[in-house]
Every structure is written in C-alpha cells, then in structure tokens.
C-alpha cells in the first residue's frame, strides 16, 4: 500500500467547489484523489531536467525571477562567416 500522509492546507473556496463538482461528476473518487492528481501534475511540470524546460515552466507560471537584459550579450561567431535571414536593404 502506498505511504500516505495527512496534508492540511488552505485552498481557494471557489476552486474547491469546482473540484467538488468534478468529484460529483465521477472524474475523481473524492477530494484526496483530485488533489493527488493535481500534485502529480505539478511535480511532473516542475521536475523537468533541463534548465530550459524548468525555466519555461516557471516563466509561464509567472514565477521566474526577472533580472537584467539580454541586450548586453554579444557573441563573436567562431565558425567563419555567418549570415542571417534575408537581406532587406533600406
């Protein structure tokens, strides 16, 4: 049997009513089942192994800390001549 613990948390009342509706529709057995499913999704979303995947998840969730500007990042091409896109002369 899976190890379980009692988790006491405060949640948004409106959100909880929606969860109860989903339970009543039979999508989940009960609130615990729904919360377990949501937690699984949450852990999966933020457990991505690449820094890019994790940063994207944090950005989309509005949780990525902002700092600086990338404008200062200038690289010197190492592999010969580089061309970008189509020429559009003024």
């Amino acid at each position: 049997m899976t190890d379980t613990v009692l988790l006491q948390v405060r949640v948004n009342a409106t959100l909880l009513r929606k969860v109860d509706e989903l339970c009543a529709e039979g999508l989940f057995k009960n609130r615990s089942d729904a919360v377990n499913d949501a937690l699984r999704y949450l852990v999966m979303r933020y457990s991505r192994t690449s820094p890019e995947g994790r940063a994207t998840a944090l950005y989309l969730g509005g949780r990525l800390q902002k700092s600086g500007s990338p404008v200062e990042l200038v690289f010197r091409a190492a592999k010969g001549r580089t061309e970008v896109g189509e020429r559009w002369t003024r």
Partner: protein, 144 residues
C-alpha cells in the same frame, strides 16, 4: 510596443559587423534599450538555433534563459493547441493567403499581447501578410 524578429536579434547578438544591415540594426537596438519589448517564443527559438550554430550551444542556452528573465522583454507564447485537428483548422486560412507556417505561429503569438503595435524584422515576406504592422529596423529608426 515593438515585437522584434529573430533576424534583428541575431545580427545584434552575433555582432555581424560585415552585414550591410548592421549599422541600422544596432541603431534600432540602441534606440529601444530600456524600453519594453516583445519577442515571440518562435523568434526566440530561431535565435537560439542561429547563435548555437555560430557560437556554440552554451551561448544558445544562455540567451534563451536571459530572454525569459529579461526585465525589458516579454516572451509571447500562443495558447498550445488542444488537438492537431483544431490546430490545422486554425492555421489553414492564413496558410492559404500565403503566410508561411512560422509566420502563422508568430501571428498567433503577437495576438496574445494587445500592446504590440509593430513587428520589426528584415524579412519583407511578412509585410502585408501579418495582421500586425511590419517594419524594418531602418524604417523603425526613421531612415526610410
């Protein structure tokens, strides 16, 4: 607010000084320094590819994270498609009027932010095809 195409960003980040577009490109980048700007996730991913190919993957990764963390850029992500059928139905009308697929994805991204008034790129193919006004950096700095 301007949304900036990957070509404009690549010319800047790769310091392509031999490119005839470089002076106007740099003037545009300087002019918008410190101002709020947008970049679509598709332009950002293309930028990662261009920089990774020219410099190396470390630079590409660094740039991607720097744009997500940027205080002056907002990265525009369109809503993900719920199904391929829905996605094909959504993009098809724009494809039929000659906008390429990446252009449609850029269009969908630009539509997520109503503050975007211009898309700045050297790519003349998007002019008249994106619903957002398309200008070159030369036009944006008032040289044409």
């Amino acid at each position: 607010m301007d949304a900036i195409g990957y070509d404009v960003l690549a010319i800047h980040h790769l310091a392509l000084e031999d490119d005839p577009r470089y002076p106007d490109n740099e003037e545009y980048i300087s002019m918008t320094r410190g101002l709020p700007k947008a970049v679509t996730v598709f332009d950002l991913l293309n930028l990662v590819a261009a920089v990774s190919e020219a410099v190396g993957e470390r630079a590409g990764r660094e740039l991607y994270l720097a744009y997500l963390r940027s205080e002056e850029h907002v990265v525009l992500f369109p809503p993900p498609p719920s199904s391929w059928e829905e996605h094909i139905e959504d993009v098809f009308p724009d494809l039929l009027r000659g906008l390429d697929y990446v252009g449609v994805l850029i269009e969908r991204s630009l539509e997520t932010n109503h503050e975007v008034t211009r898309y700045v790129t050297w790519n003349r193919e998007y002019r008249g095809k994106l619903r957002t006004k398309v200008v070159s950096p030369s036009e944006a700095i008032g040289k044409t």
